[in-house]
Symmetry: none
Subunit: 213 residues, 4 copies
Amino acid sequence: MTTDTPPGPPLRGRVEKREAILRAAQRVFGAKGYAATTMDDIAEAAEVATPTIYNHMGNKEQLFRYAIGAANERLNARTLEALAAFPADPEDLREALLELAANLTRCMLDPDAWAIRRLIYAEIGRFPDLFADTVNRPGRDASLDALAGRMAQLAHAGRLRMDDPARAGSHFIALIWADLDAESALGTRPVPPDAVRRTERTGVDAFLRAYAP
Amino acid sequence: MTTDTPPGPPLRGRVEKREAILRAAQRVFGAKGYAATTMDDIAEAAEVATPTIYNHMGNKEQLFRYAIGAANERLNARTLEALAAFPADPEDLREALLELAANLTRCMLDPDAWAIRRLIYAEIGRFPDLFADTVNRPGRDASLDALAGRMAQLAHAGRLRMDDPARAGSHFIALIWADLDAESALGTRPVPPDAVRRTERTGVDAFLRAYAP
Amino acid sequence: MTTDTPPGPPLRGRVEKREAILRAAQRVFGAKGYAATTMDDIAEAAEVATPTIYNHMGNKEQLFRYAIGAANERLNARTLEALAAFPADPEDLREALLELAANLTRCMLDPDAWAIRRLIYAEIGRFPDLFADTVNRPGRDASLDALAGRMAQLAHAGRLRMDDPARAGSHFIALIWADLDAESALGTRPVPPDAVRRTERTGVDAFLRAYAP
Amino acid sequence: MTTDTPPGPPLRGRVEKREAILRAAQRVFGAKGYAATTMDDIAEAAEVATPTIYNHMGNKEQLFRYAIGAANERLNARTLEALAAFPADPEDLREALLELAANLTRCMLDPDAWAIRRLIYAEIGRFPDLFADTVNRPGRDASLDALAGRMAQLAHAGRLRMDDPARAGSHFIALIWADLDAESALGTRPVPPDAVRRTERTGVDAFLRAYAP
DNA sequence: TATGAATGAGAATTCATTCAT
DNA sequence: CATGAATGAATTCTCATTCAT
């Protein structure tokens, strides 16, 4: 075949290299923060020459945005998955909520999730739109909406009682998370599984006391 | 009289210089993050020559620790104050909890508090002991202990019912804070006061439903 | 049929590509100087891929030489043309010299000519042979020789009086050019036509006073 | 005298360092051009650490402007000196003009002068104001004004005849310079002294023929 | 003690050039 | 041949830190 300009994504060539760069960037940025991470660090981690990063990503800031965006997408997908697994009309509500809580804390305690969260906290000053555009909008909002939907279903089914399903969702998250952030020293210290379980259980129970009909 | 501070805004004595450096460091670190802040930035903000900072603080890392420590102390004092203001045996429990909630969120939404929180999130990777030694131990723990004490008092007085006062305190904080972090875009966006009030109110009410006898 | 040149302004054949590269190189080198010009700049201006330049021209230095050479050739041709247009035995000598002066200054004030002149000034340090081999020899020398020939003719015809026709030619050029270089800010500022005319006229008149019999 | 600056010229003070940097910059820029000169080159030539250059000069462009400005000043001073040495009412006009011519060509053929001239030609594209602000205004204009003044004096004394002294000055310069630029290959090749003398002499003679009363 | 000046060690980014197709 | 991708080697500029006063 002659060359008939391969149609499709304009970004051509070694897609694998692009992927490797993004993965490496997530890893290194997550470990060292934005400013302390050098492009050479990432190049080395990705096993690529430094200029290759510039060819693919433009500059450090762009790379950061791409990396955050990609990581966030991955993480949000897992959160939505956890929510999707929640049964429409659970037989044992407490049991179902406990499992949901376990799934959610697992997502939130994941080292990658912590890394991203720390990065966003750290850099929101210099990337003010990052939170709104990249993180909150497509990620957190979607998850909270989905959770609110579940809450509304439960209310409609008479299993819970609430005025504002979105608020109930927030409260659910707040209660099962409680002070796990402090316990894990912002993700830098593993939390013993039974401490997590206990936090989830007491959270779910408080939630049920507050929202059971 | 030792120091005859020359009139006007001019050069200060010894201790005042140290104070000025610490204040400047809190301000600049808080605004730009650790790595993006230069010693010259701080020197300029403190109206001091750069080597003076080294004379007083040793090096950048030390300065950071001192600055975080000082800021944290100030912030914690205010939190403890808020807790101390809680009446021992409130007449109207809901009213008292609402006021406590308002005091606590005021502390937590304070721009300085956000700046410190962001810094700690950002740098905990490179200052692993910072959280444990400087922040959590003398600060958060004290506050949570004080709150737990209040909860225990209320339980003992039969106003609330709970197994674990510390946990109840965590739940209280969690509920009145709910998603104020997202609402304020991690402290980079002001939250309308009535949104804060609503969050506090729904939080307090959920708490009361969960913990009232 | 090997090439099925896609329609539009598309890829050219072999020689046209070489031409396009040379033209682009003259343009870009002329605008930005040697060191500040990147091969990618030229590739983009020539609508060619960068390696194609290497295929055709070897390397940056070679390309520079080729480009300077080609531009110089073009410019010199125009100068020689102007000289050729000078009548062998002009009726009105002053008129004829004025026209010659106008033709020559037009060549010398041409933006392309300025660009090349600036380039040569700039790079003669790093391309010492450039001036001798590429510019002076086939270009300037030829023009000055031709001008000297004209002068000799005029002397022989008794219209002018001189010892050294080459020197007279230099003086002619010098006088009609006078400080047009400064007036045009080395070619970066247009000179009003009547200022040019005045310079030519006063130059020609001084020349005639100096060289008329 | 407190400080007896350690022996030799090794460690300098403050102003001396600035001077050394400027001298080195003139030398290196003059030899290699703006873009091809690195700050490290200059630092090495000045026996200074690279950041010291930034402390003193800001950045490369600033340094270039300072260097050009300083060199230009020096050169112009010498040109004005040459003009000042011209006698108010010379006994032998031709002799005086020959001496002036010799002084002027000496200034103009000076390697430093050539270096600056080449730099300005080279960089006027990227420093459009350089010529107008730094070079032409305080330098060339002053010299040409002074020369025009001399011409006017000579005209007033009846030694020369002219309409426009400034133009006569330009013509003088043009004639005594003639094609010395080409002869010296833009300053990269020494011109034998007697070739210079001959150019001056023929120039002065042509000038006298054109402007003698 | 406080400071203006100096510097060694990087860091982001660019560029001429070469592969592999 | 032409080209998209890749890279080693700079280059400008910054910064924490130290001297010398």
